[in-house]
Symmetry: C2
DNA sequence: GTGAACCATGACGCGACGTGAGGGTCAAGG
DNA sequence: CCTTGACCCTCACGTCGCGTCATGGTTCAC
C-alpha cells in the first residue's frame, strides 16, 4: 500500500530520475498515482513492472520490444522469469565461448604463434545476442555455398571449439526437452526463443542459416535416422517436437 | 601483406560498412592505406586493432574509452587479453548471481510467497559490470552506515542466500589458497583478480566496500583471531597472504 | 559499353537517455 | 513567518553509436 516518490524509486532500482521520467513519457512505466502537487507516486505494482523492464533491458531488449513483451496478456509473471532465465543461461554459454577463445589465443601467443586477424574474427566475431544474418548468403538449402562455408570454418576449429559447440548444443537441446516435458506449445514464446537460439548457434559455428534453410534442416531431423536418433535419445518425441517448433516459428519474418 | 576493402572487412568482422566509416571518422580505426580511387584499404594490422575495438565494445566500453585504452603505449596485446578475460569472468559471476536470483524468485512464487519489489531490487539491482558504488556511502571503515546497510540487507536473506554466499566465498578462498600454494606473488595479476572478486562479493552481499574499507577488513583478518582461524583452517599462512594481497592491490586506483 | 556491385562523402534521423533552465513543494530550523 | 535546502515538475536541447538515404564515382564481368 506504500507509495514511493520518484527519487526513492531511482535509488531502489539503481537508475536515474531522468530514466523514470523517460519511461513515463513513453508510457512504459507510468506511475499509478500523483500527489496534490503533481508528484509522481509509484505503487508496489509499479515497482514490479519497473523491475521487469529493467530485467529485460539488461538482457539487451529495446524499450519498444520490452513494451511489446509486457503487453502480452497471455504471458504471466513466471513466463517472464523463465524466459529471462533461459536468456541468462544463453549469455553464460556465450560468455564462456568468448572466454575459451581468449584463453586459446593467449596460449597461442605464449607459444609464439600469432593468429591471423581473420582467424581471430572467426572465433571472436560472434555478436552477443542472436547472431548476424548475412543477407547475401544463398537462400536455398543444400546450397554449395553453405557447405563450403561450413567446411572453411570448421577446418580451423580445435578440440576446445568442438567441446564448446557441443555444450552449447546440449544446452539448447535440454531447453527443448524441458519445454516438451512442461507441455509448452510449439507456437509459444519459449519455443520461439529456443528455435532462434538454435538457428543462431548454427549460424555462428557453421554457416549463415536462413529461416528457409532452418526449415530444411528441421525436415532432416525427422527424416534422417541419424539425426532422429540423437533427439530421441534425449527424450521420446523430441525430434518431432523440435521439427514442429522450428516450422511454427520460421513462417513469418518475426523480429 | 594483404589489403582488404571496407566491404570485406565488414563481412569478416560481422559489422557494417557504416560502422567502419564511423570508426574512421572518429579516428578509432583508421585504414592504413587508400587506393588510387580513394578506396579505404585495411591491412592485417588494422584488422587486429579493429578486433580489439570490437572486443572492448562487446564488454560495454564506450568508443571514447576504447580509444583511451588502446592509446596506452604501456599496454601490450596480452595485457588487453588478460583484462578482457578478467571482465568476462566478472560477467560470468554477475550473470550467475542473476540466475540464482531468478531461480529463487521462481521457487518463492511456486510456494505462493510473493517477494516485495524492494526485496527484488535488493537482489536484482546490482548492475552488470562491477556493481555501482554508492558515492553517498560514507568512506571510513567502522562507519555506522556500513553496518546498518549490511544489517538491512542480510535481514532479508534466506537460507538459500546464505548457501550461495558461502559457496561464492569458498570459491574465492580456494582461489587464494591455490595462488598461495603455486607461489603466486601477492602483486601478480591472479591475486589482483581474486582481491577484486573478494571486494565485489562483499559489496554485493553486505555493503558497498571501498578499497579503504577493504584494507581495513584485511587488517582484521590478521588481528581478529576469529577471522584468522577460518583462513588458517584452509591453509597455513593464508590469513597473512590474503591480507598482503588486499593491501598490495588496493593502493592505486586501477579501474 | 553497360549493368551490377562495389566504393566515396555528406547529411539527416533515432533511441535512450544526460544535462541544464526555470520554476513549484515540503519539512526543518532560526 | 520566512528562509534554506532537498526534493519535485516540465520543457528543451545535447550526446553517442550508429542506420539510412541521397548523390555520385569506380571496377569488373559479360
Amino acid at each position: 500500500m506504500e507509495e514511493h516518490t520518484i527519487g526513492e524509486v531511482a535509488r531502489l532500482s539503481h537508475t536515474s530520475v531522468r530514466t523514470l521520467h523517460h519511461y513515463d513519457a513513453i508510457e512504459l512505466v507510468v506511475p499509478s498515482g500523483r500527489s496534490a502537487a503533481g508528484y509522481r507516486l509509484y505503487s508496489a505494482e509499479d515497482l514490479g513492472r519497473l523491475r521487469q523492464v529493467l530485467s529485460y533491458r539488461e538482457l539487451g531488449f529495446s524499450l519498444e520490444e520490452i513494451a511489446e513483451i509486457l503487453a502480452d496478456p497471455d504471458a504471466r509473471a513466471d513466463d517472464h522469469l523463465r524466459r529471462q532465465h533461459r536468456m541468462l543461461r544463453d549469455r553464460q554459454v556465450q560468455t564462456q565461448a568468448l572466454l575459451s577463445a581468449i584463453e586459446k589465443e593467449m596460449e597461442a601467443r605464449q607459444m609464439g604463434i600469432a593468429l591471423t586477424p581473420a582467424e581471430q574474427f572467426e572465433i571472436f566475431g560472434t555478436d552477443s545476442l542472436g547472431g548476424a544474418y548475412s543477407e547475401e548468403a544463398e537462400q536455398r538449402w543444400g546450397d554449395t555455398e553453405s557447405w563450403a562455408q561450413s567446411r572453411r570454418r570448421t577446418a580451423a576449429y580445435t578440440k576446445e571449439h568442438w567441446t564448446a559447440i557441443k555444450s552449447e548444443a546440449d544446452a539448447n537441446l535440454a531447453g527443448f526437452a524441458d519445454a516438451l516435458s512442461f507441455g509448452e506449445s510449439t507456437t509459444g514464446p519459449v519455443t520461439a526463443f529456443l528455435v532462434e537460439a538454435h538457428r543462431s548457434q548454427i549460424s555462428r559455428w557453421f554457416y549463415d542459416c536462413s529461416p528457409e534453410m532452418h526449415r530444411g534442416l528441421a525436415e532432416l531431423y525427422v527424416t534422417d535416422p541419424r539425426f532422429t536418433a540423437t533427439f530421441e535419445d534425449v527424450a521420446p518425441g523430441l525430434a518431432q517436437y523440435v521439427h514442429d517448433a522450428i516450422c511454427a516459428n520460421t513462417g513469418n519474418a518475426e523480429r
